[in-house]
């Protein structure tokens, strides 16, 4: 099967990428091309390899086979152009740093190991804080923040990195409405600035409304294309298998999101 789209110029390309956890393939033979400035949603059941795909893209996990090309060059050539917004649980929120400190870390890649932040970095941080509407919190300890505010700190940090490619792992999971809206506004805004985005989500409706491209994945690529092309009964049932039911012509997927979430029912009708 060939899932690549004939869109030029492709600026982010996965070519036959496989990543192994131990002896098991977490993702297998993934080949997709994401054009520059596109908003791509990554959808699939739990354990489908969404996080793995992202971690491979930011070089947190080694590739078993294949390669990933950014602007036509393999990983490693463009050192600071990918920003990654991890799931919130991945850092220690009791660490003694302020909101501003965390966002400033986004500048460290540009500064190198030893240089101190200058006026340009402070301006970039200020702008990122304003854009995520957390400038009033800039001197707060991160441990005083709500979950949504923590998420926006991460987003502001990614903005301060001024990336060409922004990768977000489940940014809509368990956040308040303000954060959800701020994230969606950010997606729209970054599109106008030609930033390529890859965002994993459990929410089919959101993926359909706010993204140009959808990657449906369950270890292998099930479908890749526009939301209309991807969200067919055939594709979704292939990806979700037993977690899916057809009720009155509406596709219902039962996605239990691991530890923090209860059973969520998301509709995605045909």
């Amino acid at each position: 099967m060939n899932h690549t789209l004939p869109i030029d110029p492709a600026r982010l390309e996965f070519r036959n990428v496989s990543v192994k956890y131990g002896s098991r393939h977490a993702i297998e033979d993934v080949s997709i091309q994401v054009p520059h400035g596109a908003r791509g949603a990554v959808v699939g059941p739990n354990g489908a390899g969404k996080s793995t795909l992202f971690k491979a893209l930011v070089s947190l996990l080694p590739l078993d086979t294949g390669n990933i090309y950014i602007h036509g060059r393999p990983l490693g050539h463009h050192l600071d152009c990918v920003a990654y917004v991890p799931q919130r649980e991945e850092v220690d929120w009791h660490f003694p740093v302020t909101v501003r400190d965390v966002v400033m870390m986004g500048r460290y890649g540009r500064l190198g190991l030893l240089k101190q932040p200058g006026q340009k970095d402070r301006t970039a941080v200020d702008r990122a804080l304003q854009q995520m509407e957390i400038d009033h919190l800039s001197n707060r300890s991160i441990q005083d923040l709500s979950g949504g505010q923590q998420q926006r700190v991460f987003l502001a940090r990614a903005l301060a990195q001024q990336p060409h490619i922004l990768v977000m792992d489940e940014p809509f999971n368990g956040v308040d409405a303000i954060t959800r809206d701020a994230t969606l506004r950010l997606l729209k805004d970054l599109t106008t600035r030609d930033v390529t985005m890859m965002v994993s989500t459990h929410d089919f409706l959101l993926a359909r409304e706010h993204f140009d491209l959808v990657l449906l994945i369950n270890r292998k690529v099930i479908a890749f294309g526009t939301p209309v092309e991807v969200f067919t009964t055939e594709h979704v049932s292939l990806a979700f298998q037993s977690q899916m039911m057809l009720i009155d012509g509406a596709l219902v997927v039962d996605q239990c999101c691991g530890d923090e979430e209860h059973t969520h029912i998301h509709g995605g009708e045909e």
Partner: protein, 280 residues
């Protein structure tokens, strides 16, 4: 004030005082990383691991500091190497190396007759036996460690707070972690004479833990921790002089006392402060 100044008429007391303050500050500063990164076990292991190095240096009539340094670097390298391959977890690797090094140290020392006095000095420190040369070496090593921490402040912050970001920013995370381990090793070696290997772990953790409860930002945590370390070093030594108790214990107990004060009365995180705020 005379009773406070009286001890300082002795040269050994002046040198001991300087050594206690330097070591207090140094341990407290490197301890910030140990507390934030959850490496208390590593600090303890490192402290005990230098014993065989000291013992071998003693047998060969070499410099004890050099022996300790070599041993600590070997153990730091061993733990990194074994846990990096992913076959065993880091704390398991620490447990193995820690116990093996300690056993080796005791085995070597017990083979030598008349070991009792020297062993107790290694375990619990002998701050009053610090020579001018020792003090100079201590000061130089301490300045080196502090300078490295100052220079690498940003990368150490990122690998401690968010290793994932460090990796995506392509920081040399493995190397940085190695440098931090070497700094801890150096600190432990420097502290050997003042508080001894048995108690250095406490000086690595206690002032920094108190500072963690008091500070909101990392620079403040460093300063508060250093202040607590210095005060503990100074006060502990004076206490040991007047009460005629082991100096290392006095220093550690004083630091523990400050920790309990912070635990109860810290403005934001103190147990009693929070209860009080709920009442009013």
């Amino acid at each position: 004030m005379n009773w406070l100044l009286e001890p300082f008429t002795y040269g050994f007391m002046q040198r001991g005082f300087a050594a206690a303050v330097i070591v207090g500050v140094l341990c407290a500063i490197i301890g910030v990383y140990i507390v934030l990164r959850g490496m208390a076990f590593m600090g303890d292991a490192m402290a005990h691991a230098i014993l065989p190095g000291v013992a071998i240096a003693y047998l060969l009539k070499g410099n004890l500091l050099v022996g300790a340094l070599v041993a600590s670097l070997i153990v730091a390298g061993g733990i990194t190497l074994f846990s990096r391959k992913g076959s065993i977890k880091e704390d398991t690797a620490i447990g193995i190396f820690f116990a093996a090094a300690l056993s080796l140290g005791v085995a070597i020392i017990s083979g030598v007759h008349s070991y009792a006095v020297d062993l107790s000095h290694i375990l619990f420190g002998n701050v009053l036996g610090v020579s001018s040369m020792d003090l100079l070496v201590t000061a130089l090593l301490a300045v080196t460690v502090l300078a490295v921490i100052l220079v690498l402040y940003k990368p150490f912050l990122v690998i401690s707070f968010d290793p994932v970001l460090a990796a995506t920013l392509r920081m040399p995370t493995e190397t940085l972690r190695g440098v931090l381990l070497v700094l801890i090793a150096l600190t432990v070696v420097i502290s050997m004479q003042t508080v001894g290997v048995g108690l250095v772990a406490a000086m690595l953790v206690t002032p920094a833990a108190a500072a963690y409860l008091l500070a909101r930002r990392l620079p403040a945590m460093f300063l508060i921790s250093a202040a607590i370390g210095a005060i503990s070093g100074a006060s502990g030594l004076l206490l040991s002089y007047y009460l005629n108790i082991a100096s290392g214990s006095a220093i550690v107990l004083f630091a523990t006392f400050i920790f309990f004060l912070a635990y109860l009365f810290a403005p934001q995180k103190g147990v009693l402060t929070r209860r009080w705020r709920r009442l009013v």
